[in-house]
């Protein structure tokens, strides 16, 4: 196993997620087709808001899924609350929010929020109380009996957040949750998710490809680059809290946005160089692999 590259913060009792030396390769017929993640080390503390940012194909969604034990790493280890990720999943430590709300149209808004509670054996009155509390938290308390298709995209995503938080998971995993929303709604949802984060104290890992979003929300931004997917930089976001409309106009905000952009460009440049080099020698290796030579 690889040693921690020193990028990750040291392990403390407050560490919620500890990722060490994680690789993820996808193989077809025994031949490695893609290296989605390579040598990932990362620690996340309780109550942190960590964003994963990078170009498409950098493995940020894969990393999120590895943390959530939806995808098994090819090498390395992932611990959540001091347990292997698989155990953490069985202990229902994860709340998931995807880019699409993934609400069930045969259930009312309330019943969608109740779904995980049903599965986890909450009794009827507790389910009702939790669903009401969570929907109040996302300010949809008046829409209990509505059906998902009667709500706007932003409202549906808030229902998904309420559902993810309903059973008080240790960690909230969000995969580009606002990527499908328009810019105005997105900024409102950013504010909303900060308010919820501050109200609940949940640890959040947030995948995005929006630099302003990552800077505005996070306590740390993890910058990734593609082929192979790896962490190239971790930037601490020291903006004051609570953050609001004024935050987006502070000089420090713009400095940090620039810092993240430059970190991404550095990662991206390396990427382009690697690609140019692959055009010479890498392509022939691929061809040999396709013909079944390597495996």
């Amino acid at each position: 196993m690889r040693q921690s590259a020193g990028r990750a913060s040291p392990t403390t009792p407050d560490t919620v997620v500890r990722i060490a030396g994680v690789d993820k390769t996808f193989a077809r017929d025994g031949v490695v087709v893609t290296t989605a993640l390579s040598g990932i080390d990362l620690s996340i503390s309780r109550g942190e808001f960590v964003s994963l940012i990078g170009p498409s194909g950098c493995g940020k969604s894969t990393l999120l899924r590895v943390i959530g034990d939806l995808v098994a790493p090819s090498a390395g280890s992932v611990e959540v609350n001091g347990k292997p990720a698989a155990q953490a999943r069985r202990d229902r430590d994860y709340g998931m929010v995807f880019q699409a709300p993934v609400l069930f149209d045969w259930r009312s808004v309330e019943d969608n929020v109740k779904l995980p509670l049903e599965l986890m054996g909450y009794d009827g009155p507790r389910r009702t109380a939790r669903a009401k509390e969570m929907l109040d938290l996302v300010e949809l308390g008046e829409f209990l009996k509505h059906h998902p298709y009667q709500l706007s995209g932003g409202m549906q995503q808030r229902v998904a957040i309420a559902r993810a938080l309903s059973f008080e998971p240790a960690i909230l995993l969000m995969d580009e949750p606002f990527g499908a929303l328009d810019e105005m709604t997105r900024e409102r949802m950013n504010q909303e998710v900060l308010r919820i984060w501050e109200a609940t104290g949940t640890t959040i890992v947030f995948v995005t490809h929006s630099i302003p979003e990552a800077v505005f929300l996070s306590s740390r931004v993890v910058v990734m680059s593609a082929r192979p997917g790896r962490i190239t930089d971790v930037i601490d976001i020291d903006l004051d809290r609570p953050r609001g409309v004024a935050t987006r106009e502070e000089p420090r905000y713009f400095q940090l946005v620039t810092a993240v952009r430059e970190a991404l460009r550095r990662g991206g440049m390396g990427d382009e160089l690697a690609e140019r080099m692959e055009d010479g020698s890498g392509a022939s290796i691929d061809r040999t692999a396709a013909e079944g030579g390597i495996g």
């Binding site: 899924r65 959530g68 939806l70 999943r89 069985r90 202990d91 229902r92 994860y94 709340g95 998931m96 995807f98 699409a100 993934v102 069930f104 149209d105 045969w106 009312s108 779904l115 995980p116 049903e118 599965l119 986890m120 059906h147 998902p148 298709y149 995993l173």
Partner: protein, 288 residues
């Protein structure tokens, strides 16, 4: 619903008018002594003579309706209409049993195939092949195996029902968004929970589409099965009998066809009603 009924009625009217229009142009001469009780003799000699429009091949529809009110046999006090309605109900019961058994069989098979790629690869080709055997070839074999009884007829109806349900439910049970399955995995839910909370509810629109096809197919299956099955009380025997007397009274067979299709439409409508009750509140409830 009302709009649909109006459209359905209007189209029926168009068909009836076209029907009589064809006979007016190319049927056999009409004679109505004392038409409409007015004491006028009406006689019409169509300008053409088309074989398909003569009274044997295309009886006047009012004669078809009329024969339904007449005794089923000379001297009988039961009208043809009542007789056919009773036969239709009898056939419907056979079809309905086959329908329920076939739907359950289809559900079980689809569930198996969705959870086992191996089973799917091994058995789906046979499920498909089973439907390429003509039912007229298979029906006598089933009757030979299970005896001339209602059971044979039910098996034939089942045979025609399970197929659309199997195929549609494989699709329906696989229809949930992959992320919905990831979500369920993140809740550490069992395969059974995924099935009853996500796969099954997501598949219901597919199920009802298949059930509507199966409803009409099960009735065709029951009618066909009643012939070799030797069931005297259903529409199948009535159709065979009226076939034999077609030269002398074609209206009776047309009447039996009319009742058969009304039976099919009614069964379809029942499923459609169940569908709209079950899927109420969902985003897209299909029109048909």
């Amino acid at each position: 619903m009302r709009r649909q009924a109006v459209l359905f009625g209007s189209f029926a009217l168009v068909v009836l008018v076209a029907w009589e229009g064809v006979k007016f142009l190319g049927g056999v001469p009409w004679r109505f002594p004392n038409a409409l009780g007015l004491g006028i003799d009406v006689f019409h000699d169509p300008p053409f003579r088309w074989a398909f429009a003569n009274d044997l091949n295309l009886p006047h529809w009012f004669n078809i309706l009329g024969v339904l009110g007449q005794p089923v046999q000379r001297g009988s006090d039961e009208s043809l209409g009542t007789f056919l309605a009773g036969a239709a109900f009898y056939t419907w019961r056979e079809a309905a049993i086959g329908f329920v058994v076939g739907a359950l069989l289809g559900l079980v098979l689809a569930t198996l195939f969705v959870h086992s790629r191996l089973a799917e690869r091994a058995f789906v080709p046979y499920v498909v092949a089973s439907q390429t055997i003509p039912i007229v070839a298979l029906a006598p074999m089933i009757v030979y195996a299970f005896g001339p009884s209602v059971a044979s007829v039910v098996i034939i109806a089942t045979y025609l029902t399970f197929f659309p349900v199997t195929i549609a439910m494989i699709r329906g049970l696989r229809s949930p968004d992959p992320r919905a399955l990831e979500l369920m995995r993140s809740y550490a839910s069992s395969a059974w929970d995924v099935y009853r909370k996500v796969r099954l509810p997501a598949s219901l629109p597919y199920l009802f589409t298949a059930l509507k096809i199966a409803a009409t197919a099960s009735i065709v299956g029951a009618i066909i099965g009643e012939g070799p099955g030797g069931i005297p009380d259903g529409l199948g025997r009535a159709i065979i009998n009226f076939n034999q007397s077609y030269i002398t009274s074609p209206e009776k067979l047309w009447g039996a066809i009319l009742v058969s299709s009304l039976l099919g439409i009614s069964f379809f409508a029942i499923i459609r009603l169940l569908e709209s009750l079950t899927l109420r509140g969902r985003a897209a409830v299909p029109e048909l």
